[in-house]
């Protein structure tokens, strides 16, 4: 057992699985994550995969990676990994820069033949030397050991080789003292319809585990600390699934059936997949003929009385602009999900960015205000999808939910909320006395919120006509009157602005009394918060706050910003949120930390950026 081995005790470790995009790295990464979450670790994952489904085997372009951090107080998948699994030379070349000094690299040495090295463009026959690797390298003949383990299985060679990833998983489970029973359970579910494949994988995972056990003297092994989490029932969830489930919760809490009109687009398609499965909960998810039909079918469903949603990524949001404008002028509830990716145009489809903020805020013709919210983490996608739905329905407006590839694909352990944890959502139905008196007009509003009442088609006494043409403030009939138009423009604007009365204020974390405030928005929360905490631990005084409500901004935003001498906005774009805040608060001097590489921040980048700004006179 582990006690007599060389055990490192860490509060968290980072593991990165890498191989060809056909090697099953995402699968073993997910199983390792689930097994770790199941024994009480916090988890955070970062799938890093190529846009090509199957690039040429062994090529640098075809490398697929899955990084996971497990342990206690885990907010990010980590900058660099403690253990890298590289199934071939290309994976080693692409990923060795992600390994910590003194970390461990496990390679399948059987796939490091001369021809393999050539495919990965190595020029010498010693890839480790050529890359200048100073980590411990564990050369494991994975292919040979798998073939050996499955010699009597009767499987053909191709099927045998497909089990290589599971051998690596077995080895990693040994390395981190994970229970194999739990991994076997996941494999059994995965291969429920292929018992022969399950049997083969069960043999191979044991072979991997036993191999580790037999050679353990030669490598550091780890025991990962767990920290008591809030009691409850947990599951592992990624941001896209959390988004889908948050919408379902909002449907249950509002009594309005859930409708999704969508079109496949990376990295948002998993939301469509999940909601398509949820016919078991009455969800109607339509794959439409294009992005425009996605938003338009949702607008039709909203007019018809559903909680209507469309999901997409940046290029799709561009196509939906005119439709969103229709929902603005018709004052219909609509949730638009943009899982942001690298742009412009097709850009970096599988990589993360925060570059659609301006498009979300302003990317429509005319004065066309919408609410914008942005979840902070994979699990926060649940809360903010619920919030987007609540705001859309209660304030009769389109709401854009800006997630991103990083939190959409990343996962963490999530406590399943209790029934009463989320509030009831109250649709602003036409007051019954107005229906009875026949005195209701389609643009009658609540005085306090400026919200238009919602008449559900099929209701007797509420027939009415909506449309994209400007309407009279009082009668709701078509109007081209200049003064009326201006009044309607300001009314729609005011309606969205008053949502600020209905959202939480900003919280300041870390050293609230510092002179410097670090802030961000959306999916960078984990990295920024961890960096701020680490800075404080190192004696660098910094306060931290994070925005999840973008339009309108929380009411205390100005108060918070003005409390600090230096305000630093860190974001994965060239400064869109910084510009936005600057336009709202011209008296605050905003400084910036930006990165636009299609990759999340590294904590080290943020810390260095903050230190540099603090050092400026």
């Amino acid at each position: 057992m582990l006690e007599d081995a060389n055990v490192k005790t860490l509060d968290k470790v980072v593991v990165r699985f890498s191989g060809d995009s056909g090697d099953g790295m995402q699968l073993v990464g997910n199983i390792f994550t689930n097994v770790s979450a199941g024994i009480g670790n916090q988890v955070s994952t970062f799938p890093d995969y190529p846009a090509e489904i199957r690039a040429p085997q062994g090529s640098l372009g075809g490398v697929s990676g899955f990084q996971v951090s497990v342990g206690s107080e885990v907010h990010t998948p980590g900058d660099k990994c403690d253990v890298l699994i590289a199934m071939n030379p290309a994976a080693l070349k692409q990923n060795c820069k992600h390994v910590k000094a003194g970390g461990v690299i496990i390679v399948d040495i059987d796939s490091f033949k001369e021809s393999d090295l050539k495919k990965a463009l190595f020029v010498t026959d010693d890839p480790f030397k050529e890359l200048g690797i100073n980590a411990q390298v564990l050369e494991v003949p994975v292919t040979a050991l798998v073939k050996n383990a499955l010699a009597d299985s009767g499987l053909d060679n191709k099927s045998v080789l497909k089990c290589r990833n599971i051998f690596a998983l077995g080895l990693v489970c040994w390395l981190f003292d994970r229970p194999l029973e739990s991994a076997l359970h996941f494999l059994k579910n995965k291969f429920a319809k292929k018992p022969a494949i399950y049997e083969a994988n069960a043999k191979v995972i044991n072979a991997g585990y036993n191999y580790g056990n037999n050679i353990h003297a030669s490598v550091s092994t780890y025991r990962i600390e767990t920290k008591d989490a809030r009691p409850g029932v947990y599951t592992d969830i990624n941001g896209n699934t959390a988004t889908a489930w948050g919408l379902i919760m909002a449907s249950e809490k509002s009594g309005r059936p859930l409708f999704l009109g969508s079109y496949p687009i990376t990295p948002a398609t998993d939301i469509l997949h999940e909601l398509a499965k949820r016919k078991d909960l009455g969800v109607k998810a339509l794959q439409m003929e294009d992005e425009i039909a996605g938003v338009c079918s949702a607008i039709g469903a909203s007019f018809a009385g559903n909680l209507a949603v469309t999901s997409t990524s940046g290029p799709g949001l561009a196509l939906k602009s005119e439709g969103i404008g229709l929902a603005v002028i018709a004052e219909l509830p609509l949730v638009v999900i943009d899982v942001q990716r690298g742009g412009p145009s097709t850009g970096l489809p599988t990589k993360t960015e925060q570059t659609d903020l301006m498009q979300a805020l302003y990317g429509r013709n005319g004065e066309s205000p919408v609410a914008v919210v942005a979840p902070a983490s994979p699990t926060d996608c649940f809360t903010m999808a619920f919030e987007a739905s609540r705001i859309a329905i209660e304030h009769m407006t389109p709401v854009i939910l800006l997630t991103d590839a990083f939190i959409g694909n990343g996962s963490s352990a999530w406590r399943i909320p209790d029934e009463d944890e989320y509030p009831a959502i109250k649709p602003p139905y036409v007051p019954s006395e107005k229906v009875a008196e026949c005195s209701w007009r389609p643009y009658d509003r609540d005085d306090k919120t400026k919200v238009r009442y919602w008449a559900i088609p099929g209701t007797e006494g509420c027939t009415h006509r909506l449309g994209g043409l400007e309407k009279d403030y009082v009668t709701g009939a078509i109007s081209t009157d200049p003064v009326n138009h201006e009044r309607m423009v300001y009314t729609r604007r005011e309606k969205v602005a008053r949502i600020a009365d209905d959202i939480p204020g900003l919280e300041v974390l870390c050293d609230a009394d510092a002179d410097t405030l670090l802030l961000g928005w959306g999916g960078t929360y984990g990295h920024l918060r961890t960096a701020a905490q680490e800075l404080c631990c190192e004696g660098v005084k910094v306060a931290f706050t994070h925005f999840r409500y973008i339009n309108p901004l929380p009411l205390n935003t100005g108060d918070v910003l003005r409390r600090y001498k230096k305000v630093i906005v860190a974001e994965l774009n060239t400064g869109q949120f910084a510009d936005y805040l600057q336009s709202k608060y011209p008296d605050v001097e905003i400084r910036r930390i930006n990165k636009v590489q299609g990759q999340p921040f590294l904590m080290s980048e943020i810390k260095e950026g903050v230190k540099n700004i603090i050092a400026e006179k």
């Binding site: 947990y234 018809a304 007797e460 009415h464």
Partner: protein, 337 residues
Amino acid sequence: MEETKYTAANYKSDQPVRWCPGCGDHAILNSLHKAMAAIGVPPYKTAVISGIGCSSRLPYYMNTYGFHTIHGRAAAIATGFKVANPDMTVWQISGDGDGLAIGGNHFIHAVRRNIDINMMLLNNKIYGLTKGQYSPTSDRGFVSKSSPYGTTEDPFIPAELVFGARGNFFARSIDVELQVSQEVLTAAARHKGASVVELLQNCVIYNNGIHNYITDKEYRAERTIHLVHGEKMLFGKNMERGLVRDGFLVKAVEIGKDGYTIDDVLVHDAHCQSNFLHQQLAMMDGHDLPLAIGVIRDVDSLTYNDEVMRQVAEVKAKKGFTCMRDMILAGETWEVK
């Protein structure tokens, strides 16, 4: 059938109709009010959804739920509406530009999906609201403000698109044929699935007389044929002419001439699964063969919205979840105490 309780007046809104005097849309609107009264679905159970263009103003003149949306998207919006609220009867109004140019993709997919909506295509072969550009149904060589030397492209024939998209209901009428319009609109509403009704309509300002070859009173009986399911395909002032088979095709003959008798004349079968003959009938343009009006194809098939509801009911019954929490707890979870 439930007894009709409503009159055409119940479907009219209080808004003044703002189409040009003499526009064919007035007659079509009247036909629609009458058809709705004949169908008897209450105004509050009826939704009328349009795109952009002259004809798309129509929802404002209906005392129903109505939505005047954006250019080309009415079919997609109507699709979402019908799936979300399947108890409503949904009408979708488009013109030839709205429905077949900017909205062409939504048009063919709504037909292919067989969503249960009634799609009215008002075809005046021109863009009226933008003041006179050629449309995707304008004939080759048509001179307009955007084709001063004549167009250099062939038009769509709406029926051909409908059949290409595997449509199961296609009917046609002309603005001035009030009775036929009312008949085909009523049939469209009774058909379950996507029903396309092409209405040839005159634009009195920018394309006046475009359908005159067909609509001219003097020749209308010779140049059109009113098809009715189960009846002989006869036309002419005294119904003296008929359509007969001619190898793979049909041809027009005079009864009693060249050895043709009434027994040779084809009987219209709108419910025939094969669309082979329907397509030939729909492609007749009034020149060699009379333009067909009436219900040309009306075949029952699974509708998209019914199938969605069926799947929802089946999967719900099979899984038996009462709420999302049940669904999540049925998956992989662990407990922290």
